[in-house]
């Protein structure tokens, strides 16, 4: 399971890096740029929990020169007008490494464009919300607690599960 930094930040905001560790179940890996972004994000107020990510995902994978070239191509595909040159590098590096090394894994990202590009490159993608659904399915968290997380993340401008605007919609979404 490879995360991007948006997913790591979500788990840090709800202060449940322990839950992410349980879900990764020893299958966590990350690329060097995501690890670097995560370390920088941990400096921001309220995100110190990100310090636990190193334990979960271990030694980061660094791109080879050929993968660096792939990263440039992929980053170009992800970019939008106005983006600074360093934006999307974490997602591009992740996709480049998974693709070139033919790793059998999931890419966890809440970035729609990164998910689209990963899918186009044959990588299975999932999201923060799907991981939280999985945690509920495995009875690691109950529905009320998860609803609390949804509200916390929404309050931090991190979005909501698809179509979830209230508790009724949440209860409908949960078993899907």
């Amino acid at each position: 399971m490879f995360p991007d930094n948006t997913v790591l930040i979500n788990f840090a905001i709800i202060n449940r890096m322990d839950l992410l560790e349980k879900l990764a179940n020893g299958n966590g890996q990350w690329c060097a740029t995501v690890a670097g972004e995560c370390a920088e994000s941990a400096e921001y107020p309220g995100l110190a929990a990100l310090g636990a990510a190193e334990e979960i995902f271990g030694e980061p994978l660094y791109p080879s020169p050929a993968e660096h070239q792939d990263v440039q191509v992929l980053r170009n595909q992800l970019a939008s007008p106005g983006d600074p040159p360093t934006k999307h590098l974490g997602e591009a590096e992740t996709v480049a490494i998974i693709t070139r090394r033919r790793l059998s894994c999931f890419f966890v990202t809440d970035d729609r464009d990164a998910a689209r590009l990963a899918t186009q490159n044959g990588i299975t993608v999932t999201t923060t919300w799907r991981l939280l659904q999985l945690a509920h399915r495995k009875k690691t968290i109950d529905a009320d607690t998860l609803w609390g997380y949804v509200q916390t993340l929404r309050g931090n401008d991190r979005g909501t599960p698809p179509g979830v605007r209230d508790r009724a919609a949440f209860d409908k979404w949960l078993p899907t």
Partner: protein, 362 residues
């Protein structure tokens, strides 16, 4: 074989003023030890470290990675403001235009993954006129694209005109101001830069100024050929005839006046008189054209419209449909919100919870 670290070390040695390795490391978010090991090939760089390093040591990222010139590299020439009083040429808005130029380059790099080859353009204004054909000024951008493979972009965000070569494709980018005579001069000027091969990187300021003067001379001869101008009885010209000529040539009276000064040594009386007024005033009062439409406003409207070549937009539509790029760049080209852009794009299937559980051994 040289490595990324070797090339980075080479650039570090060339830096002027010199920078200490430790300072460079700190500025790109690396420890001195990690930076030293990466330079010596004992550790790889991450993508973000490499991008920051390329920026810090002013190296092309593609060259840093491969040791070769980037086939998609962008070279830019800019239209300078010329102060007729002081003779100074400057680009006051260049810094503010950088992001827009980068965005235009992104639109092209996304549209064309394979680099192109610049055409072998005719060099002289007369031969360019011959290729573009009679009355080329009115559909200037369309003729350039069709006959010379020079694409024209018009956006409000730019402060001045630029010509770019982007991975072997030629693009003229002009500000959308509504001033069609200024736009024609901009396009002709930038076309001069392109045909004369002025897109060398690392130009010294003296050469850059010489290029500006040459591009301006090219624009003058392209839009206002000396032979045509000398055939006019300027001292006898009336207001209606002057308006008709300015309309046909697609230039301002001020530009015509300066050109006549250069060619004849003086500005004829009626031209000098009207040069002190907005060109629109002469046209509104004296242009006699048979049309039910307001042609003068039509030209102004066309010169204020956002414009990207249809070929670039079509390339983006195909890429969006295949999932290779997002809608954001096409929406930006069209000047609309990406969420309101109704185009075909593939669904992104998400992993099933049970499959996820199995894969993670839960």
């Amino acid at each position: 074989m040289a490595t990324i670290g070797d090339r980075a070390l080479q650039r570090l040695k060339e830096l002027s003023p010199p920078s200490k390795q430790g300072d460079v490391a700190e500025s790109i978010g690396m420890t001195a030890d990690a930076f030293s090991r990466a330079l010596n090939g004992k550790r790889q760089f991450s993508s973000i470290e490499l991008a920051r390093l390329a920026d810090r040591i002013d190296a092309d990222l593609h060259w840093l990675i491969t040791g070769k010139l980037d086939p998609h590299r962008v070279s830019i020439a800019a239209r300078h403001d010329f102060n007729h009083e002081t003779g100074q040429r400057t680009i006051p808005g260049r810094a503010g235009d950088e992001q827009t130029l980068a965005d235009i380059a992104l639109a092209y790099r996304q549209a064309y993954s394979e680099p192109g080859q610049l055409p072998d353009w005719p060099r002289s204004p007369a031969s360019v006129r011959a290729v573009l054909g009679n009355g080329f000024v009115r559909p200037f951008a369309d003729r350039l694209e069709k006959d010379l493979r020079v694409e024209v972009v018009r956006v409000t965000e730019l402060s001045t005109a630029y010509s770019l070569t982007i991975g072997g494709r030629a693009v003229i980018a002009v500000p959308a101001t509504g001033s069609w005579f200024r736009e024609n001069w901009d396009i002709a000027h930038e076309l001069g830069h392109l045909t004369m091969g002025h897109h060398d990187d690392d130009l010294n300021p003296s050469d850059a100024l010489q290029h500006e003067a040459a591009a301006n001379a090219f624009a003058a001869e392209l839009l206002l050929p000396a032979a045509e101008l000398k055939a006019v009885a300027w001292d006898l010209i009336g207001d209606d005839e002057l308006a008709a000529l300015v309309w046909e040539w697609g230039v301002s009276v001020d530009a015509l006046s300066r050109r006549l000064c250069a060619l004849l040594g003086y500005a004829p009386n009626n031209v000098a008189r009207w040069a002190a007024h907005p060109t629109q005033r002469l046209l509104r009062s004296h242009l006699r054209i048979e049309s039910e439409l307001d042609e003068i406003t039509g030209r102004m409207d066309a010169a204020s419209q956002r414009r990207f070549p249809l070929s670039v937009q079509e390339a983006h539509l195909e890429l969006i449909a295949s999932g290779a790029v997002s809608r954001a760049t096409l929406a930006w080209m069209l000047g609309i919100d990406a969420n309101s852009l109704d185009v075909d794009a593939p669904e992104v299937p998400e992993a099933d919870v049970d499959d996820l559980a199995t894969a993670l051994g839960l």
